[in-house]
Protein backbone atom coordinates (compact mmCIF):
# COMPACT_ATOMS: atom_id res chain seq x y z
CA UNK A 1 0.00 0.00 0.00
CA UNK A 2 1.45 3.33 -0.96
CA UNK A 3 1.44 6.06 1.76
CA UNK A 4 -0.39 9.21 0.71
CA UNK A 5 2.60 11.16 1.86
CA UNK A 6 5.00 9.14 -0.26
CA UNK A 7 2.71 9.73 -3.26
CA UNK A 8 3.16 13.51 -2.89
CA UNK A 9 6.73 13.51 -1.59
CA UNK A 10 8.35 10.53 -3.25
CA UNK A 11 11.88 11.54 -2.20
CA UNK A 12 11.14 11.73 1.56
CA UNK A 13 10.89 8.98 4.17
CA UNK A 14 7.65 8.40 6.04
CA UNK A 15 9.20 9.76 9.27
CA UNK A 16 10.23 13.04 7.68
CA UNK A 17 6.81 13.42 6.12
CA UNK A 18 5.25 13.12 9.55
CA UNK A 19 7.57 15.82 10.87
CA UNK A 20 6.54 18.06 7.99
CA UNK A 21 2.87 17.59 8.80
CA UNK A 22 3.50 18.47 12.46
CA UNK A 23 5.47 21.60 11.50
CA UNK A 24 2.74 22.67 9.08
CA UNK A 25 0.25 22.17 11.90
CA UNK A 26 2.33 24.31 14.25
CA UNK A 27 2.46 27.17 11.75
CA UNK A 28 -1.26 26.93 11.04
CA UNK A 29 -2.10 26.92 14.76
CA UNK A 30 0.25 29.81 15.50
CA UNK A 31 -1.08 31.83 12.58
CA UNK A 32 -4.71 31.38 13.57
CA UNK A 33 -4.05 32.17 17.25
CA UNK A 34 -1.97 35.24 16.47
CA UNK A 35 -4.86 36.63 14.47
CA UNK A 36 -7.08 36.46 17.54
CA UNK A 37 -7.27 39.87 19.25
CA UNK A 38 -5.93 39.94 22.82
CA UNK A 39 -8.34 42.64 23.75
CA UNK A 40 -11.54 41.79 22.01
CA UNK A 41 -14.02 44.64 21.88
CA UNK A 42 -16.10 44.64 25.04
CA UNK A 43 -19.63 45.74 24.85
CA UNK A 44 -20.67 48.24 27.49
CA UNK A 45 -20.66 46.99 31.05
CA UNK A 46 -23.89 48.83 31.64
CA UNK A 47 -27.08 48.94 29.56
CA UNK A 48 -27.96 52.32 28.08
CA UNK A 49 -30.70 53.13 30.60
CA UNK A 50 -28.41 52.38 33.54
CA UNK A 51 -25.78 54.69 32.05
CA UNK A 52 -28.38 57.40 31.77
CA UNK A 53 -29.51 56.94 35.38
CA UNK A 54 -25.90 56.96 36.56
CA UNK A 55 -25.20 60.18 34.66
CA UNK A 56 -28.20 61.85 36.27
CA UNK A 57 -27.17 60.84 39.77
CA UNK A 58 -23.56 61.91 39.24
CA UNK A 59 -24.70 65.24 37.79
CA UNK A 60 -26.81 65.94 40.87
CA UNK A 61 -23.85 65.39 43.18
CA UNK A 62 -21.46 67.34 40.96
CA UNK A 63 -23.81 70.31 40.67
CA UNK A 64 -24.16 70.37 44.44
CA UNK A 65 -20.38 70.11 44.84
CA UNK A 66 -19.85 73.14 42.61
CA UNK A 67 -22.24 75.16 44.74
CA UNK A 68 -20.63 74.05 47.98
CA UNK A 69 -17.13 74.77 46.67
CA UNK A 70 -18.23 78.21 45.61
CA UNK A 71 -19.64 78.85 49.09
CA UNK A 72 -16.37 77.76 50.68
CA UNK A 73 -14.33 80.13 48.53
CA UNK A 74 -16.69 83.01 49.37
CA UNK A 75 -16.57 82.30 53.09
CA UNK A 76 -12.77 82.13 53.14
CA UNK A 77 -12.58 85.42 51.27
CA UNK A 78 -15.02 87.05 53.69
CA UNK A 79 -12.98 85.80 56.66
CA UNK A 80 -9.79 87.16 55.11
CA UNK A 81 -11.44 90.54 54.51
CA UNK A 82 -12.65 90.75 58.09
CA UNK A 83 -9.22 89.77 59.39
CA UNK A 84 -7.66 92.58 57.35
CA UNK A 85 -10.17 95.07 58.75
CA UNK A 86 -9.26 93.93 62.23
CA UNK A 87 -5.56 94.35 61.53
CA UNK A 88 -5.34 97.15 64.06
CA UNK A 89 -6.54 94.81 66.77
CA UNK A 90 -4.68 91.80 65.45
CA UNK A 91 -0.95 91.81 65.58
CA UNK A 92 0.47 92.42 62.12
CA UNK A 93 2.92 89.58 62.69
CA UNK A 94 0.05 87.15 63.22
CA UNK A 95 -1.53 88.11 59.92
CA UNK A 96 1.79 87.88 58.13
CA UNK A 97 2.31 84.41 59.60
CA UNK A 98 -1.19 83.43 58.60
CA UNK A 99 -0.61 84.62 55.03
CA UNK A 100 2.61 82.65 54.83
CA UNK A 101 0.93 79.51 56.12
CA UNK A 102 -1.98 79.91 53.73
CA UNK A 103 0.47 80.18 50.85
CA UNK A 104 2.09 76.90 51.86
CA UNK A 105 -1.13 74.91 52.19
CA UNK A 106 -2.84 75.94 48.97
CA UNK A 107 -5.09 78.69 50.28
CA UNK A 108 -3.65 81.42 48.09
CA UNK A 109 -3.70 81.72 44.34
CA UNK A 110 -0.35 81.16 42.66
CA UNK A 111 0.63 82.86 39.44
CA UNK A 112 3.73 82.63 37.34
CA UNK A 113 5.59 80.63 34.80
CA UNK A 114 5.52 76.87 34.50
CA UNK A 115 4.10 74.13 32.31
CA UNK A 116 0.70 73.26 30.96
CA UNK A 117 0.02 69.59 30.23
CA UNK A 118 -2.81 68.22 28.15
CA UNK A 119 -4.02 64.67 28.65
CA UNK A 120 -6.90 63.15 26.75
CA UNK A 121 -8.26 59.79 25.77
CA UNK A 122 -7.54 58.38 22.34
CA UNK A 123 -9.97 59.92 19.82
CA UNK A 124 -11.56 56.52 19.23
CA UNK A 125 -11.94 55.54 22.90
CA UNK A 126 -15.33 55.35 24.62
CA UNK A 127 -15.12 56.12 28.32
CA UNK A 128 -18.84 55.43 28.87
CA UNK A 129 -18.23 51.70 28.44
CA UNK A 130 -16.85 51.64 31.97
CA UNK A 131 -13.90 49.59 30.79
CA UNK A 132 -11.09 50.57 33.12
CA UNK A 133 -8.47 48.42 31.48
CA UNK A 134 -8.96 50.13 28.16
CA UNK A 135 -5.46 51.20 27.29
CA UNK A 136 -6.72 54.05 25.16
CA UNK A 137 -8.25 55.84 28.15
CA UNK A 138 -6.43 58.12 30.55
CA UNK A 139 -6.26 56.47 33.96
CA UNK A 140 -6.05 58.08 37.38
CA UNK A 141 -2.64 56.42 37.73
CA UNK A 142 -1.40 58.40 34.70
CA UNK A 143 -2.37 61.65 36.39
CA UNK A 144 -0.78 60.51 39.67
CA UNK A 145 2.47 59.71 37.91
CA UNK A 146 2.56 63.09 36.18
CA UNK A 147 1.86 64.90 39.46
CA UNK A 148 4.66 62.89 41.07
CA UNK A 149 7.07 63.86 38.29
CA UNK A 150 6.10 67.52 38.68
CA UNK A 151 6.64 67.35 42.45
CA UNK A 152 9.99 65.65 41.96
CA UNK A 153 10.88 68.58 39.68
CA UNK A 154 10.08 71.04 42.51
CA UNK A 155 6.81 72.34 41.11
CA UNK A 156 5.54 75.10 43.39
CA UNK A 157 1.81 74.67 42.85
CA UNK A 158 -0.23 72.23 40.77
CA UNK A 159 -3.80 72.13 39.53
CA UNK A 160 -5.78 69.57 37.54
CA UNK A 161 -8.82 70.91 35.67
CA UNK A 162 -8.79 73.88 38.07
CA UNK A 163 -8.63 71.65 41.14
CA UNK A 164 -5.72 72.71 43.35
CA UNK A 165 -3.56 69.74 44.32
CA UNK A 166 -2.37 69.38 47.90
CA UNK A 167 -0.19 66.79 49.61
CA UNK A 168 -3.39 65.18 50.85
CA UNK A 169 -5.12 65.16 47.46
CA UNK A 170 -6.28 61.71 46.38
CA UNK A 171 -6.28 61.12 42.62
CA UNK A 172 -8.43 58.05 42.24
CA UNK A 173 -10.79 56.39 39.90
CA UNK A 174 -13.87 54.32 40.23
CA UNK A 175 -14.30 52.52 36.97
CA UNK A 176 -13.71 55.07 34.24
CA UNK A 177 -14.59 58.04 36.44
CA UNK A 178 -11.67 60.02 37.76
CA UNK A 179 -11.88 61.88 41.06
CA UNK A 180 -9.42 64.52 42.23
CA UNK A 181 -9.90 65.72 45.80
CA UNK A 182 -12.96 63.46 45.53
CA UNK A 183 -14.33 65.78 42.85
CA UNK A 184 -15.40 64.32 39.57
CA UNK A 185 -13.33 65.50 36.60
CA UNK A 186 -13.76 64.70 32.94
CA UNK A 187 -11.34 64.65 30.02
CA UNK A 188 -9.57 66.46 28.55
CA UNK A 189 -7.39 66.86 31.61
CA UNK A 190 -5.34 70.03 31.88
CA UNK A 191 -2.58 69.91 34.46
CA UNK A 192 -0.83 73.16 35.25
CA UNK A 193 2.21 73.61 37.43
CA UNK A 194 4.26 76.65 38.35
CA UNK A 195 7.98 76.31 38.72
CA UNK A 196 11.12 76.32 36.61
CA UNK A 197 9.71 75.41 33.17
CA UNK A 198 13.01 74.04 31.87
CA UNK A 199 13.32 71.57 34.72
CA UNK A 200 9.64 70.64 34.58
CA UNK A 201 9.75 70.01 30.83
CA UNK A 202 13.00 68.09 31.08
CA UNK A 203 11.44 65.75 33.62
CA UNK A 204 8.29 65.30 31.57
CA UNK A 205 10.42 64.36 28.56
CA UNK A 206 12.02 61.55 30.58
CA UNK A 207 10.39 58.41 29.21
CA UNK A 208 11.74 56.27 32.03
CA UNK A 209 9.67 58.28 34.50
CA UNK A 210 6.44 57.90 32.50
CA UNK A 211 7.09 54.63 30.68
CA UNK A 212 3.54 53.35 30.51
CA UNK A 213 2.11 56.69 29.38
CA UNK A 214 4.61 57.12 26.56
CA UNK A 215 4.04 53.53 25.43
CA UNK A 216 0.30 53.96 25.31
CA UNK A 217 0.69 57.30 23.55
CA UNK A 218 2.64 55.53 20.85
CA UNK A 219 0.45 52.41 20.60
CA UNK A 220 -3.03 53.68 21.38
CA UNK A 221 -2.81 57.35 20.41
CA UNK A 222 -3.46 58.75 23.87
CA UNK A 223 -3.15 62.52 23.79
CA UNK A 224 -0.24 63.68 25.94
CA UNK A 225 1.46 66.99 25.26
CA UNK A 226 2.94 69.83 27.27
CA UNK A 227 4.34 73.31 26.78
CA UNK A 228 5.73 76.20 28.73
CA UNK A 229 3.20 78.77 29.89
CA UNK A 230 4.31 82.09 31.37
CA UNK A 231 0.89 83.25 32.53
CA UNK A 232 -0.36 80.43 34.71
CA UNK A 233 -2.93 80.97 37.43
CA UNK A 234 -3.17 78.11 39.93
CA UNK A 235 -6.45 78.53 41.79
CA UNK A 236 -7.04 78.45 45.52
CA UNK A 237 -7.93 75.10 47.08
CA UNK A 238 -11.70 75.05 47.42
CA UNK A 239 -12.27 71.86 49.38
CA UNK A 240 -12.37 70.91 53.02
CA UNK A 241 -9.56 70.17 55.46
CA UNK A 242 -9.95 66.96 57.42
CA UNK A 243 -8.65 67.28 60.94
CA UNK A 244 -10.76 64.84 62.92
CA UNK A 245 -7.93 62.56 64.07
CA UNK A 246 -4.88 64.76 63.57
CA UNK A 247 -3.86 66.75 66.62
CA UNK A 248 -0.89 68.70 67.91
CA UNK A 249 -1.44 67.38 71.42
CA UNK A 250 0.79 64.46 72.38
Amino acid sequence: MVSSGVYFFPMLSSYKIQIIFVVIGIFVGAFITSQLRTDAPVSSLFPADELEARSQVIKTFVDEQSQLQSNIVSLRKAIEDNQSKNEAASQASNLALLDDLKGRIGLTQQTGTGVEILLDDSPLARRENGETLNESLIHASDIRDIVNVLRAANAEAIAINSQRILATTPIASVGSSILVNNFYIVPPFTITATGDPEILIQRLLDMTALTDLYERKSKYNIQFSFKQNDGLVIPVYNGDFRLKYLTSSP
Binding site: S4, Q18, V28, G29, A78, I79, V147, R242
Partner: protein, 214 residues
Amino acid sequence: MKLRDITLRKSALMLLGAILGALLIVQSRSFKNVTDIISRDPSANIFREIQILKQTNDNLRDEIKDLSETLDQTKNRSTALQAIEKEINRDKILAGDIDVYGPGVYVKIEKNVRALWLIDFINELLNAGAESVSINNIRLTDTTDGFDTLPLGQIVVNGSILNSPFVIEAIGEPNTLKNALLQPKGIADRFQENNPQIPLSIDTLERIHMKEVL
Protein backbone atom coordinates in the same frame (compact mmCIF):
# COMPACT_ATOMS: atom_id res chain seq x y z
CA MET B 1 -8.60 0.94 5.04
CA LYS B 2 -4.90 1.26 5.55
CA LEU B 3 -4.86 4.45 3.47
CA ARG B 4 -7.62 5.86 5.65
CA ASP B 5 -5.63 5.01 8.79
CA ILE B 6 -2.58 6.75 7.38
CA THR B 7 -4.63 9.82 6.45
CA LEU B 8 -6.13 9.90 9.94
CA ARG B 9 -2.67 9.70 11.43
CA LYS B 10 -1.45 12.57 9.30
CA SER B 11 -4.51 14.63 10.27
CA ALA B 12 -3.89 13.90 13.93
CA LEU B 13 -0.29 15.02 13.57
CA MET B 14 -1.38 18.25 11.92
CA LEU B 15 -3.94 18.84 14.64
CA LEU B 16 -1.32 18.20 17.29
CA GLY B 17 0.95 20.65 15.52
CA ALA B 18 -1.82 23.25 15.36
CA ILE B 19 -2.44 22.93 19.11
CA LEU B 20 1.27 23.26 19.80
CA GLY B 21 1.42 26.37 17.65
CA ALA B 22 -1.55 27.91 19.43
CA LEU B 23 -0.01 27.18 22.83
CA LEU B 24 3.25 28.79 21.76
CA ILE B 25 1.47 32.02 20.85
CA VAL B 26 -0.59 32.04 24.04
CA GLN B 27 2.49 31.43 26.17
CA SER B 28 4.46 34.14 24.42
CA ARG B 29 1.72 36.65 25.18
CA SER B 30 1.85 35.78 28.86
CA PHE B 31 5.52 36.79 28.94
CA LYS B 32 4.66 40.42 28.17
CA ASN B 33 6.16 43.16 30.33
CA VAL B 34 4.84 42.88 33.88
CA THR B 35 3.53 46.45 33.80
CA ASP B 36 0.95 45.33 31.26
CA ILE B 37 -0.85 43.13 33.78
CA ILE B 38 -0.85 45.66 36.59
CA SER B 39 -4.20 47.32 36.98
CA ARG B 40 -3.45 50.28 39.23
CA ASP B 41 -7.02 51.46 39.66
CA PRO B 42 -10.11 49.59 40.82
CA SER B 43 -12.78 48.40 38.45
CA ALA B 44 -16.16 50.00 37.89
CA ASN B 45 -18.42 50.23 40.92
CA ILE B 46 -21.20 52.73 40.69
CA PHE B 47 -22.14 52.32 44.34
CA ARG B 48 -18.63 53.16 45.48
CA GLU B 49 -18.64 56.17 43.15
CA ILE B 50 -21.83 57.52 44.66
CA GLN B 51 -20.62 56.81 48.19
CA ILE B 52 -17.48 58.88 47.59
CA LEU B 53 -19.42 61.77 46.06
CA LYS B 54 -21.95 61.77 48.90
CA GLN B 55 -19.23 61.71 51.57
CA THR B 56 -17.40 64.52 49.80
CA ASN B 57 -20.49 66.71 49.81
CA ASP B 58 -21.06 65.95 53.50
CA ASN B 59 -17.46 67.00 54.23
CA LEU B 60 -17.95 70.21 52.28
CA ARG B 61 -21.07 71.02 54.27
CA ASP B 62 -19.13 70.47 57.52
CA GLU B 63 -16.40 72.79 56.25
CA ILE B 64 -18.98 75.44 55.41
CA LYS B 65 -20.39 75.15 58.93
CA ASP B 66 -16.91 75.64 60.46
CA LEU B 67 -16.12 78.56 58.17
CA SER B 68 -19.44 80.22 58.98
CA GLU B 69 -18.64 80.02 62.70
CA THR B 70 -15.18 81.48 62.04
CA LEU B 71 -16.70 84.28 59.98
CA ASP B 72 -19.03 85.16 62.86
CA GLN B 73 -16.05 85.26 65.19
CA THR B 74 -14.17 87.65 62.91
CA LYS B 75 -17.06 90.12 63.02
CA ASN B 76 -16.58 90.52 66.74
CA ARG B 77 -13.30 92.18 67.65
CA SER B 78 -12.93 90.29 70.89
CA THR B 79 -13.26 86.90 69.27
CA ALA B 80 -11.42 87.82 66.08
CA LEU B 81 -8.02 87.30 67.68
CA GLN B 82 -9.05 83.86 68.91
CA ALA B 83 -10.22 82.97 65.41
CA ILE B 84 -6.86 83.97 63.95
CA GLU B 85 -4.97 81.96 66.55
CA LYS B 86 -7.16 78.94 65.85
CA GLU B 87 -6.55 79.24 62.14
CA ILE B 88 -2.81 79.63 62.62
CA ASN B 89 -2.67 76.48 64.76
CA ARG B 90 -4.65 74.53 62.22
CA ASP B 91 -2.53 75.75 59.32
CA LYS B 92 0.70 74.94 61.20
CA ILE B 93 -0.52 71.36 61.50
CA LEU B 94 -1.34 71.21 57.80
CA ALA B 95 1.93 72.82 56.76
CA GLY B 96 3.99 70.42 58.89
CA ASP B 97 5.39 73.14 61.14
CA ILE B 98 4.64 71.26 64.35
CA ASP B 99 4.63 67.65 65.49
CA VAL B 100 1.34 65.84 65.08
CA TYR B 101 -0.23 62.80 66.67
CA GLY B 102 -3.16 60.51 66.12
CA PRO B 103 -4.36 56.98 65.51
CA GLY B 104 -3.96 55.34 62.15
CA VAL B 105 -2.33 52.52 60.23
CA TYR B 106 1.07 51.44 59.04
CA VAL B 107 2.06 49.65 55.87
CA LYS B 108 5.38 47.83 55.80
CA ILE B 109 6.94 46.65 52.54
CA GLU B 110 9.96 44.55 53.35
CA LYS B 111 11.92 44.70 50.11
CA ASN B 112 12.68 47.10 47.30
CA VAL B 113 9.76 47.95 45.05
CA ARG B 114 9.04 50.33 42.25
CA ALA B 115 8.07 53.86 43.29
CA LEU B 116 4.64 53.46 41.71
CA TRP B 117 3.60 51.08 44.50
CA LEU B 118 4.51 53.63 47.16
CA ILE B 119 2.60 56.32 45.24
CA ASP B 120 -0.43 54.05 44.94
CA PHE B 121 -0.46 52.95 48.59
CA ILE B 122 -0.24 56.57 49.73
CA ASN B 123 -2.98 57.57 47.32
CA GLU B 124 -5.23 54.81 48.58
CA LEU B 125 -4.73 56.00 52.16
CA LEU B 126 -5.56 59.59 51.19
CA ASN B 127 -8.58 58.37 49.30
CA ALA B 128 -9.76 56.62 52.45
CA GLY B 129 -9.46 59.80 54.51
CA ALA B 130 -5.89 59.84 55.79
CA GLU B 131 -5.16 63.27 57.26
CA SER B 132 -1.39 63.02 57.26
CA VAL B 133 1.01 60.51 55.75
CA SER B 134 4.69 59.77 56.21
CA ILE B 135 7.10 57.34 54.64
CA ASN B 136 10.19 56.13 56.52
CA ASN B 137 9.53 59.00 58.96
CA ILE B 138 9.51 61.60 56.18
CA ARG B 139 6.29 63.53 56.55
CA LEU B 140 4.58 64.33 53.26
CA THR B 141 3.42 67.93 53.04
CA ASP B 142 2.84 70.40 50.23
CA THR B 143 6.51 71.27 50.20
CA THR B 144 7.69 67.66 49.96
CA ASP B 145 9.28 66.61 46.69
CA GLY B 146 7.86 63.72 44.76
CA PHE B 147 9.33 60.23 44.48
CA ASP B 148 12.34 60.13 42.23
CA THR B 149 14.00 56.97 40.95
CA LEU B 150 17.76 56.97 40.43
CA PRO B 151 19.39 55.04 37.57
CA LEU B 152 20.25 52.14 39.88
CA GLY B 153 16.67 51.92 41.14
CA GLN B 154 16.95 53.72 44.48
CA ILE B 155 13.94 55.80 45.43
CA VAL B 156 14.57 59.35 46.64
CA VAL B 157 12.22 61.68 48.50
CA ASN B 158 13.22 65.16 49.60
CA GLY B 159 16.83 64.42 48.78
CA SER B 160 16.92 61.31 50.98
CA ILE B 161 17.31 57.81 49.60
CA LEU B 162 14.62 55.52 50.95
CA ASN B 163 15.89 52.15 52.06
CA SER B 164 13.73 49.10 52.50
CA PRO B 165 11.78 48.19 54.46
CA PHE B 166 9.45 50.98 53.42
CA VAL B 167 7.14 51.98 56.25
CA ILE B 168 4.20 54.17 55.39
CA GLU B 169 2.23 55.61 58.30
CA ALA B 170 -1.07 57.42 58.03
CA ILE B 171 -3.13 59.22 60.65
CA GLY B 172 -6.87 58.80 60.32
CA GLU B 173 -9.68 56.46 61.31
CA PRO B 174 -7.70 53.22 61.72
CA ASN B 175 -10.26 50.64 60.64
CA THR B 176 -11.44 52.69 57.69
CA LEU B 177 -7.87 53.06 56.44
CA LYS B 178 -7.02 49.41 57.03
CA ASN B 179 -10.19 48.14 55.35
CA ALA B 180 -9.61 50.39 52.35
CA LEU B 181 -6.20 48.80 51.81
CA LEU B 182 -7.39 45.25 52.41
CA GLN B 183 -10.62 45.35 50.42
CA PRO B 184 -11.01 42.53 47.87
CA LYS B 185 -9.04 43.33 44.69
CA GLY B 186 -7.75 46.44 46.44
CA ILE B 187 -4.21 47.76 46.53
CA ALA B 188 -2.96 45.05 48.91
CA ASP B 189 -4.34 42.27 46.70
CA ARG B 190 -2.90 43.88 43.56
CA PHE B 191 0.46 44.33 45.27
CA GLN B 192 0.66 40.72 46.42
CA GLU B 193 -0.44 39.47 43.01
CA ASN B 194 2.34 41.37 41.29
CA ASN B 195 4.99 41.01 44.01
CA PRO B 196 4.35 37.60 45.60
CA GLN B 197 7.90 37.39 46.89
CA ILE B 198 7.74 40.64 48.89
CA PRO B 199 6.27 40.47 52.42
CA LEU B 200 3.62 43.09 53.10
CA SER B 201 2.13 43.89 56.50
CA ILE B 202 -0.69 46.27 57.32
CA ASP B 203 -2.06 47.00 60.78
CA THR B 204 -3.64 49.69 62.90
CA LEU B 205 -1.76 51.82 65.41
CA GLU B 206 -3.26 53.55 68.43
CA ARG B 207 -0.86 56.44 68.27
CA ILE B 208 1.37 57.69 65.51
CA HIS B 209 3.80 60.54 66.02
CA MET B 210 4.94 62.53 63.00
CA LYS B 211 7.60 65.13 63.59
CA GLU B 212 7.59 68.64 62.19
CA VAL B 213 9.13 69.12 58.76
CA LEU B 214 12.47 70.84 59.15
